[in-house]
Amino acid sequence: MKQYLLSVIQPDGEPPPPAVLDQIMRDVYAVQEEMKAAGVWVFTAALHAADVSTVVRVKDGQPLITDGPFAEGKEHIGGFTIVEAPDLDAALAWGRKFAQATTLPIEVRPVREGGHR
């Protein structure tokens, strides 16, 4: 089994109104439960908004700390889930369920196995 990172690509700014958001959260939770029941769920995290992030680098042995996010853009990762899947098509099928639930694009990216590649 291979692992895939499913990232939610979330637009910056205000979240949707509570009535809409509540439904989204219920749908997302239902997909997570489905993943757990199927035995493919590994990990999930929801993130605070990207403008709360901080970037740290090391320069000449000293930490250099700057206000985040690192990447400029109108969208950032809003949360992520790791699933196990036999191949990309299976991972994309879960990504599609998440996209439907979150109403947002999902980036599906394979996790590198600890090997020679």
Binding site: D87, L88, D89, R109, P110, R117
Partner: protein, 419 residues
């Protein structure tokens, strides 16, 4: 090369490469390894066949030789980490190489090459390289890009197949129609790339048309129950049939109405029309089949004046109903001009821009069709402006020359930058 019949081995290479790579890609679970194996086997063939004669089953020989030599090589190199694992897997799988044809393998391979997770340009390159057996240099040349760029594109695409684990299989019944659309789009893209006349690389690009037709023919044998595959094959055959007549001796484009129809390829027309009739009989219409039917009506007419435009208009209505797009509406308007006159067509065309939020004003075709309708209505000043708009947006020199000629041919041409 010292081989006395390199052309014959080259022909076998072209005909069997895709099948051989497909079989070994399944057995090895690795496309790169399969390609290396098949290239190696052909290198051996070039040495041996002229001496020992061509084997009774060239494809089987190539597959068996490639497979056995690869396993031997991996065994010899077994001390090197990754290769050791591969050798162990292959030896464990020790499945005899097929002598007969396993059509499913090519089908698997084309669905992998045309997987929607790959960029369109990568899908096209992989399909031509792996199934068509074109060299990287040939693919690069056909797409007018440097060989290193094309090599990089292929390497990245194959790395994505491996690292993201894009599956090597025929999609489930539920996903098949959508995925097949993707495959057909790639083949049609290859065909159109070849059909778009462009100075310089014309011959290579004509090979792309032949390659697209060859691949569609294979696909129609592998998926005989998919009417859209037949539709695409018929569409390409009928368009290809007009190639000898579509340009003048000096490479200028000719409109359908101005072509010398005796130069159309009758064999291709007969074959294309026969497929269209089969499709009509099957009665499961789709966009490619309807476009093929439109082209079949054109090729039925012994002269442009004898074209059955009312039937073409009906087919465009049907096409718009199942695949509505501004481009279809634009082409439909051309049929309207022939049945109801240029004024009615112009009203439709002018109403199209901005429809469905899609802008047609970037398309040279939109302006070229408007220009022609305005010309036929005697509104020459507006026609000239529309030709200029079309010229500014035309992609290749043959199209541009055609439009410039049309602009110059207008009565009382106003002075323009293009003249």
């Amino acid at each position: 090369m010292t081989d006395p019949s390199p052309s014959e081995i080259e022909r076998v290479f072209r005909d069997e490469y895709g099948r051989a790579v497909a079989v070994l890609a399944r057995q090895f679970g690795d496309i790169d390894l399969a390609e290396e194996a098949i290239q190696d086997a052909f290198t051996v063939a070039v040495e041996r066949w002229p001496v020992s004669g061509r084997p009774p089953s060239p494809a089987g020989w190539i597959i068996t030789t490639g497979r056995n030599r690869t396993i031997d090589r991996l065994r010899r190199e077994a001390s090197r980490g990754e290769r050791e694992r591969q050798a162990a897997e292959l030896l464990a799988a020790d499945e005899p190489a097929e002598e007969g044809v396993v059509p499913d393998d090519r089908l698997r391979l084309i669905f992998t090459c045309c997987h929607p997770a790959l960029a369109s340009a990568a899908q096209v390159a992989l399909t031509l390289r792996l199934l068509g057996g074109l060299t990287t240099a040939e693919v690069a040349h056909a797409f007018l890009c440097p060989e290193t760029t094309m090599a990089q594109r292929l390497i990245r695409a194959k790395a994505k197949i491996r690292d993201a684990r894009i599956p090597y299989r025929i999609p489930d019944q539920a996903d098949l129609p959508g995925r097949l659309q993707g495959v057909l789009a790639v083949l049609y893209l290859i065909f159109n790339e070849g059909y778009t006349a462009s100075a310089g690389a014309q011959l290579v690009r004509e090979n792309l048309c032949a390659e697209a037709i060859r691949l569609a023919r294979q696909l129609s044998e592998l998926l005989p129950d998919e009417p859209e595959v037949m539709g695409l094959l018929a569409l390409m055959l009928l368009i290809e049939a007009r190639r000898p007549a579509r340009t003048t001796a000096d490479g200028e484009l000719l409109l359908l109405a101005d072509q010398d129809r005796s130069r159309w390829n009758r064999d291709l027309i007969t074959e294309g029309q026969a497929i269209v009739r089969q499709c009509l009989h099957r009665n499961q219409p789709g966009p490619y089949q309807i476009q093929a039917a439109i082209n079949a009506v054109h090729s039925d007419a012994p002269a442009a004046g004898a074209t059955d435009w009312s039937q073409i208009l009906q087919l465009y209505d049907q096409l718009f109903a199942c695949a509505p797009s501004p481009i279809v509406a634009l082409n439909r308007a051309v049929a309207v001009a022939e049945t109801a006159g240029p004024a009615a067509a112009l009203a439709i065309v002018d109403g199209l821009d901005g429809l469905d939020g899609q802008s047609l004003s970037d398309s040279h075709l939109f302006h070229a069709i408007r220009a022609d309708l305005l010309r036929r209505l005697g509104r020459y000043t507006k026609a000239a402006r529309a030709y200029e708009d079309a010229i500014a947006r035309a992609h290749n020199s043959a199209e541009r020359h055609f439009l410039e000629r049309a602009l110059r041919a207008l009565p009382n041409p106003p002075s323009t930058s293009a003249c």
